[in-house]
């Protein structure tokens, strides 16, 4: 190990908002260049990611695999443009790497992949697996009396996967509290609105019934995001932050529009998006 110990460089809410705005531009750029990818769920989750990196995560850009680092597990791994833009903003990868998104042999694979990208802790792309993976890391941390923390980001549609609830049960059973789940509740999944595909009902009540502590926030309000992150670290027991978000947030024609779950904008739309994100 030659790199620096993991630390967190705390940012102000204003800084984080500015970083998130820059990330939004990168997300749209990446998807446009690749002419493919998932802009909607990337734009809904980006404030949550930036909030984590800038307010709590102890990480080391010079030693991304440091055993004492906090982990970010983007279980909704298709929102990779959001992850890559955050990894760029916080110093793990270069701007040139962002240009490899979905490219042959690129650092930035179509879905987040720990083998390819420094700072990516979990290989996603198949939904429902991230909480289990985070639980494994958290159990190891407890066994070894390390204080690293696991942050698992799920989509709301993803909560239709049975494995999520297997893991929710197991986390409580094993009394794991060095883990927090953040659900990006944007209300839309691949084919349509979540309520049309498979009603989730009262998500807060469901998590509470499994024994988790709940906080519901506006997932685009950086002050609320940072406050919820701090709350979850102070509360004893596993916490879930239900972040109400807007799919496609920041680009008017993508907002709350199921067709931009997994589609690149055309040239005209791209121009408009970049104007709106200027």
């Amino acid at each position: 190990m030659t790199g620096a110990e993991p630390t967190c460089e705390l940012r102000t809410v204003e800084d984080l908002e500015a970083i998130a705005k820059g990330c939004r531009r990168e997300i749209v750029n990446m998807v446009k260049r690749a002419n493919a990818g998932h802009p909607g769920g990337s734009l809904s989750v980006i404030d949550l990611l930036v909030g984590l990196y800038g307010s709590t995560l102890r990480i080391s850009t010079t030693d991304p695999k440091h055993p004492d680092r906090d982990r970010v597990i983007l279980s909704k791994g298709h929102a990779s443009p959001a992850m890559y833009s955050a990894l760029h903003a916080f110093g793990f990868i270069q701007e040139s790497d962002l240009h490899t998104y979905r490219e042959f042999n690129g650092v930035c694979q179509g879905h987040v992949d720990s083998k390819w990208t420094p700072g990516v802790d979990f290989s996603g792309g198949s939904l429902g697996m991230g909480l289990s993976f985070g639980l494994g890391i958290a159990l190891s941390g407890k066994m070894d009396q390390k204080d690293h923390f696991s942050w698992v980001i799920l989509g709301d549609g993803e909560c239709q996967e049975g494995e999520i609830w297997e893991a929710a049960m197991a986390t409580v059973h094993h009394k794991v509290d060095n883990i927090t789940v953040i659900v990006d509740v944007n209300g839309i999944q691949n084919d349509d609105f979540v309520d049309q595909q498979m009603v989730l009902g009262d998500l807060a009540a469901k998590w509470a019934a499994f024994g988790w502590k709940i906080k519901e926030i506006d997932g685009h309000d950086m002050t609320e995001i940072c406050a919820a992150i701090n709350w979850s670290k102070e509360v004893v027991g596993p916490c879930v932050i239900l972040a109400r978000t807007t799919k496609g947030k920041g680009v008017s024609f993508m907002e709350n529009n199921p067709s931009f779950h997994g589609k690149a904008p055309d040239d005209e739309e791209f121009e408009q998006a970049m104007e709106e994100l200027a």
Binding site: S132, L135, S140
Partner: protein, 313 residues
Amino acid sequence: MTFAATRDGYGAALLEMAADERVVVLEADLGKSTKSCLFRAEYPNRTFSMGIAEQNMMLVAAGMASTGKIPFASTFAIFSERGFEQVRNGIARPNLKVHLCGSHGGIHTGTDGSSAQSIEDLAIYRTLPNMTVMHPCDDLSAKYLTIELLNHDRPSYTRTARNKTKRIYTEEQAQTLEIGKFSIVREGSDVAILACGVMVSEALDAAENLAKEGIQATIVDVHTLKPFDHTTMTSIAQKCGAIVTAEDHSVIGGLGGSVAESLAANHPTPLEQVGVKDVFGMSGQPSELMEHYGLTMSDIVDSARKVVSRRTA
């Protein structure tokens, strides 16, 4: 003659490895069956009950492996398949060193019936890049091959069996086995019988009977199906010129499939396959089932005679 089950070898191996603090054990409510219960009794703080939830177990093990732990996770072979995509995407793809053990493999499992008798596990796990796939033939080889996984640089799947069969190796012999290398347990030059798991002892019995007819058989214990020992396979094919495979598994994609692939690519040789002929099992005593599905010593003898007659001079 000692009789023992390969699952007992797995349990013994876990205890033997316990001195290594990196070793952790995961169970899905079948620890008493897979024999991880032996580890639990001694090391409860390093044994994790995952409940009847195999998909979660796979990824929890992956997460642990990502931190440097060496997880050994077990359930029935068939139920491990419920988490197959988790193994594929969550373990094999990122090459996390998780070691799976699927017990109660094959028709030999017996009275539980077809739902519990995996006849496809070796085939499906073999298709995954990075995965090592093993199926030891006795308790001692199961023990020492499992212990060897401590220093293995890839994830693995090991099939064990529920019921007792003849012990093949001495303690000393079992310790010399190497993952990925065929073990030749009998030498002969007329036919080679490649077997795995419970079929190795059947193959040895078959060899004794064939010898009475003047047919000398090489018997190979293919304890590792992947990585496949193509080098030894080719030299055996060159020497014997006729091959029989014997497995308590579908003839599609398992040992018979592996051997067919290797021979076709490297040294085309007449081949007869003894195995489950693309059908599901049913309840019954192991001996009744093995006879019904054509998995006995005499089925191997018949196949050996047939393949010898096909051999080109």
